[in-house]
């Protein structure tokens, strides 16, 4: 049985002003925690958009196994507009992702899943607090819980730790790693944080202006990476 979840074949993306992703090919096994690193502007977000199907590569393809429809993706975007007066509670925010043309109220199965994901992401204690009044780390956990609620096969985090303090960063990645190990969800994390990446990831994909490197996380050379902290 093929244990890959996706494989990129010779990806190129040409924007009018520049070209990114020069002939990028890589494989991703199910259950792997992959970190995508690289300086700003080398195509990290472009690659995520291609994986999500929001952008078509100029050349090359991404192949999903067994097929694109069968692979459920949960995505935590880089920016969210949640202000102080945002009214929904953590629980109600997380459950927004139970979408589709269904009955307005949650089914028994959905309620049980909501309870489970709130527990798994350590949000049960604050589930009734308005999301707007929670800390940065708690908000990121709520975004994570929302992305995970439909039990995706692939979880994509786009610089989720960027705005957090060092302790909250570590806590969030530890939580993601635990879920990755317990549930087997494959993780792609875009990050600039090399020390934490080395602590929690299995593999890396370093994008550069003139190419890329990929391999087990222990092979990631900090000196190869110019944009880290």
């Amino acid at each position: 049985m093929n244990d890959l979840i996706l494989e990129a074949h010779d990806l190129w993306e040409d924007f009018s002003e520049k070209q990114v992703l020069n002939n990028l090919s890589f494989k991703l096994k199910r259950g792997t925690f992959l970190s995508i690193v690289g300086e700003n502007g080398v195509g990290k977000t472009t690659l995520i958009k291609i994986i999500l199907g929001q952008l078509k590569p100029t050349k090359g393809t991404i192949e999903f196994f067994p097929n694109r429809k069968a692979v459920k993706i949960g995505y935590v975007p880089q920016f969210r507009n949640i202000g102080d007066e945002y009214p929904l509670s953590v629980k109600n925010f997380v459950s927004l992702n139970f979408n589709g043309y269904k009955l307005p109220w949650l089914s028994r199965h959905e309620k049980a899943r909501l309870k489970q994901i709130l527990q798994q992401t350590n949000l049960t204690k604050i589930e009734n607090e308005p999301l707007g009044q929670t800390s940065g780390g708690e908000k990121q956990r709520a975004y994570l819980a929302q992305a995970l609620i439909n039990q995706p096969d692939l979880l994509i985090l786009d610089e989720s730790t960027a705005s957090l303090d060092p302790i909250a960063k570590e806590n969030l990645l530890e939580l993601v790693k635990n879920l990755n190990q317990k549930t087997g969800v494959t993780v792609i994390s875009v990050t600039h944080d090399i020390p934490l990446t080395k602590q929690f990831s299995d593999e890396f994909l370093l994008l550069k202006a003139d190419g890329y490197e990929t391999g087990p996380i222990n092979d990631l050379n900090v000196y190869d990476y110019q944009g880290g902290q």
Binding site: F79, R80, K91, F98, N99, Y101, P130, Y143, A147
Partner: protein, 265 residues
């Protein structure tokens, strides 16, 4: 008071309106569209005047104008940076058109006053049935798209990431809003529509932390406004719209005060 047929119609119609406004208003506020709603009500004024000019009922004229223009306004204002400017431009144009159609149809100033400020006690049984029909359409469609609309309105970035069809939600919502504006205009007039479509929902968000509870609170605030407003209008013979606007504003200011003291506590 309830032995009078026109008061029965007025109470029935305003109850329906408070329910529709309370429901859709929660999404108006979360999608940050109060200003657009205000513009739609002015477009409704032009539509009613147009209806009179060409021999249609004011409601039909309003429906035609608000439904077509809501989609145009929504498309023009899809970029936040130019939303306010484009809405201002369209608003000005339609008020001008309303004045023109009124002048061309040779209607008196009192007719214009009726469109602008509403005539709740002048509602007849046919108007009430028409309102019930349109309100049912709005509520049923809202319930069908409820989960996607909720996601798209309360977390547009997350909804887009999970492939919710935002542009479809936006168009369907604008059409529903146009329908609601046309219905509500019958009661409070086009100038004060946005009061019922925005203030009860804007107040509700300080008291509830789920969409369904916000809708319930928003409907309750709307009902208090129209019921008490109608009673005070009946007793004093002052315009009902004045009372509705004042009550809704008082509820909103109380909600702000509640929020302020809750944060301090």
């Amino acid at each position: 008071m309830f032995s009078l047929e026109f008061m029965q119609h007025a109470y029935l119609a305003s109850t329906i309106i408070a329910i529709v406004c309370g429901f859709i208003g929660v999404f108006v506020v979360s999608r940050n569209m109060p200003f657009l709603t205000h513009t739609l009500s002015e477009i409704g004024f032009a539509g009613a005047a147009f209806g009179m000019f060409v021999g249609l009922s004011p409601l039909d004229g309003m429906l035609i104008f608000t439904m077509i223009s809501s989609v145009l306004v929504g498309k023009m204002g899809s970029r936040a940076s130019r939303r306010e400017d484009s809405i201002s431009a369209i608003s000005g144009l339609f008020i001008g058109l309303g004045v023109l159609f009124l002048a061309l149809s040779n209607k008196s100033a009192s007719y214009a006053t009726n469109i602008l400020f509403g005539s709740v006690v002048g509602i007849n049984a046919t108007d009430v049935y028409q309102m019930i029909g349109l309100s049912i359409i709005v509520l049923v469609v809202l319930l069908v798209i409820y989960r996607n609309l909720k996601f798209d309105s309360f977390d547009p970035i997350g909804a887009k990431a999970q492939h919710v069809n935002s542009s479809l939600m936006s168009i369907v919502f604008l059409l529903l809003l146009a329908l609601s504006v046309s219905v509500v205009a019958q009661i409070v007039g086009s100038l004060l529509i946005f009061i019922l479509l925005t203030l009860p929902a804007a107040s509700a968000k300080y008291f509830a932390h789920s969409v369904s509870k916000m809708i319930a609170c928003s409907i309750a605030f709307g009902l208090i406004g129209v019921w008490v407003g109608l009673y005070l209008g009946y007793v004093t013979n002052w315009p009902v719209s004045f009372f509705i606007a004042t009550i809704e504003c008082l509820i909103y200011f109380s909600a702000l005060a509640f929020n302020y003291y809750q944060k301090k506590a």
